[in-house]
């Protein structure tokens, strides 16, 4: 009874958060490099706001959304019961620990396990929110290690535009501006590509999706 109730509450909460995100930002998905078909993918996006993964998740068509799990920081999402409920049960996040000294599980192994179960993933390779003036922070190596462990999976760059203006860091009330999400062509690790070369290529692929008119 109780688990069923929690699952129901999680579904309703997810729908409510998604509806709210739609109302606030009228997100527009531009499928530039791929089609919105239920194919296993790792979506990797720029990270400028806490709403990023909610918006990406909302922009996916419902059948894709159900099989897509965000990768999120355990050290953020397990700090309060509400966050834990939203992180674990509403979004079914793959919670990884960003602190190497504290973690008991390898993040790449956790992500690979989620892929092996058939899920798609939402990943922010910058590893933290970008509030600098640079369009992107240097990527962490997780994306490379994931591409190496599961070379067959499509790595899809997604540029999320304008969300940092909707909800700048430190503000409480969002401004309901339109956000666009541009989905690029999938990337794969080529044989003998070095870590740095691959991460540079992934960074370029993501930056190339940044719209010119909006910042």
């Amino acid at each position: 009874m109780i688990p069923a109730l929690r699952a129901f509450a999680a579904r309703v909460t997810g729908q409510a958060i998604s509806t709210f995100a739609r109302f606030m930002t009228a997100p527009r998905a531009i499928w530039q490099g791929i089609e919105p078909v239920p194919h296993q993918r790792v979506y990797f996006a720029n990270h400028s706001s806490n709403g990023d993964f909610v918006l990406l998740w909302t922009a996916l068509p419902a059948p894709l959304r159900r099989q897509t799990r965000p990768v999120a920081a355990l050290d953020y999402w397990l700090t309060s019961p509400i966050r834990a409920f939203i992180g674990r049960e509403v979004f079914n996040a793959v919670l990884i620990d960003r602190r190497p000294e504290a973690r008991t599980e390898d993040p790449v192994a956790q992500m690979a396990a989620a892929l092996d179960q058939g899920s798609s993933l939402i990943l922010f390779p910058e590893g933290q929110r970008n509030s600098s003036d640079a369009p992107l922070l240097p990527f962490k190596s997780g994306l490379y290690h994931l591409a190496k462990t599961r070379p067959g999976v499509d790595l899809v760059p997604v540029w999320i535009a304008n969300l940092n203006r909707v909800m700048p860091k430190g503000e409480i009330i969002p401004v309901p501006l339109i956000c666009t999400l541009t989905f690029g062509s999938p990337l794969h690790l080529t044989p003998d590509e070095s870590k740095d070369a691959f991460l540079a290529r992934a960074t370029q692929a993501l930056l190339a999706l940044k719209p010119q008119a909006l910042s």
């Binding site: 700048p168 503000e171 501006l177 339109i178 008119a213």
Partner: protein
């Protein structure tokens, strides 16, 4: 709220849409059975969107004053979002932008719903104009200050102030026309939108001379004259449902179709400057709310004030 004249107008529009849908469907079966012709697909999407817009408007009319005010408040919200997405602002403007959406817009429509003419006719040009820059100034950023505050004010004037003059027509008091004000709204929207459609049709058929080649390749003198005259002729023929005489109706129609044309022109200039084709994506086939409303937004305040000066007792 419903009157026989409104039913006449709505069934007329319904008939036009049925005919358009049948023609669209025939064209689709002939030219684009598998959805391969983008022009036909866009036409189908446009006609379908017209159905949705007309049904929303009809439902609002049935719901009466609160329905119409609410519908236009929501349209203002969507339009303001499209506009402010493209304007210059930085982090220092966060609170002014929040105020535009969640304070100024609701207040404008609240003043309207309570029929406080003295307030809603000056609220944005006076109070918002003077107080909003203060909010941005207090945050300390001076970079592009005048550009930022001007563009925000412009967004409010177009998307909230001017747009709110459509439902404001409900509050005019015209002797002999009591209880039928909703006709004024239906008439304004019908004539202006018909002019838009007919400008497009005439432009496609005989359009040669561009009005503003740098601005919009689709706006031609032939289209403008043909569209404005066709819509004005239809509008004049409908004079019996308005407070106007046939001659007055013709004058009003020419006025609002011309203003509608100017609206399209000015809003195209802004789009061109910002390097975009459409304001938004929410109305399939048409683009954004502003793409569909630009002409009505420019025509509404003039139509409202001329009607008020000449015919209304308030």
């Amino acid at each position: 709220m419903t009157s026989p004249h409104l039913l006449w107008l709505l069934s007329g529009v319904g008939t036009i849409l049925i005919v358009a849908s049948i023609i669209g469907e025939i064209l689709r079966l002939r030219l684009s059975p598998a959805g391969e012709n983008p022009v036909i697909e866009n036409l189908t999407a446009r006609i379908n969107a017209w159905w949705v817009m007309v049904i929303c408007l009809a439902l609002a009319f049935i719901a009466g004053k609160p329905g119409v005010v609410l519908l236009f408040a929501l349209c203002s919200f969507a339009a303001l979002r499209e506009f402010l997405t493209l304007t210059t602002h930085n982090r220092a403007d966060h609170w002014s932008l929040v105020a535009c959406f969640f304070l100024i817009l609701p207040l404008q429509y609240w003043f309207l719903a309570t029929d406080w003419y003295g307030m809603y006719s000056i609220f944005i040009p006076v109070y918002a104009f003077l107080l909003l820059p203060v909010v941005s100034a207090l945050r300390g950023s001076t970079k592009d200050f005048l550009i930022r505050v001007s563009e925000t004010q412009w967004a409010l004037m177009i998307c909230v102030y001017c747009a709110s003059h459509v439902p404001a027509l409900l509050y005019l008091q015209i002797p002999g026309f009591e209880g039928r004000n909703v006709i004024l709204i239906a008439y304004l929207i019908f004539v202006v939108q018909l002019s838009d459609v007919m400008q497009y049709v005439w432009g496609k058929l005989v359009g040669r001379t561009k009005v503003a080649p740098n601005l919009s390749p689709s706006k031609t003198w032939e289209g403008l004259i043909g569209g404005a005259l066709t819509a004005s002729a239809v509008g004049t023929a409908l004079w019996w449902m308005t407070p106007f005489s046939p001659l007055q109706a013709a004058g009003m129609c020419l006025l609002i179709t011309l203003m509608g044309f100017f609206g399209g022109l000015v809003m195209s200039a802004i789009k061109r400057d910002r390097g975009i084709k459409d304001w938004g994506h929410l109305i399939a086939g048409h683009g954004g709310f502003l793409d569909r409303l630009d002409s009505v937004i420019f025509a509404a305040p003039i139509f409202f004030h001329v009607t008020r000066w000449v015919w209304s007792t308030t």
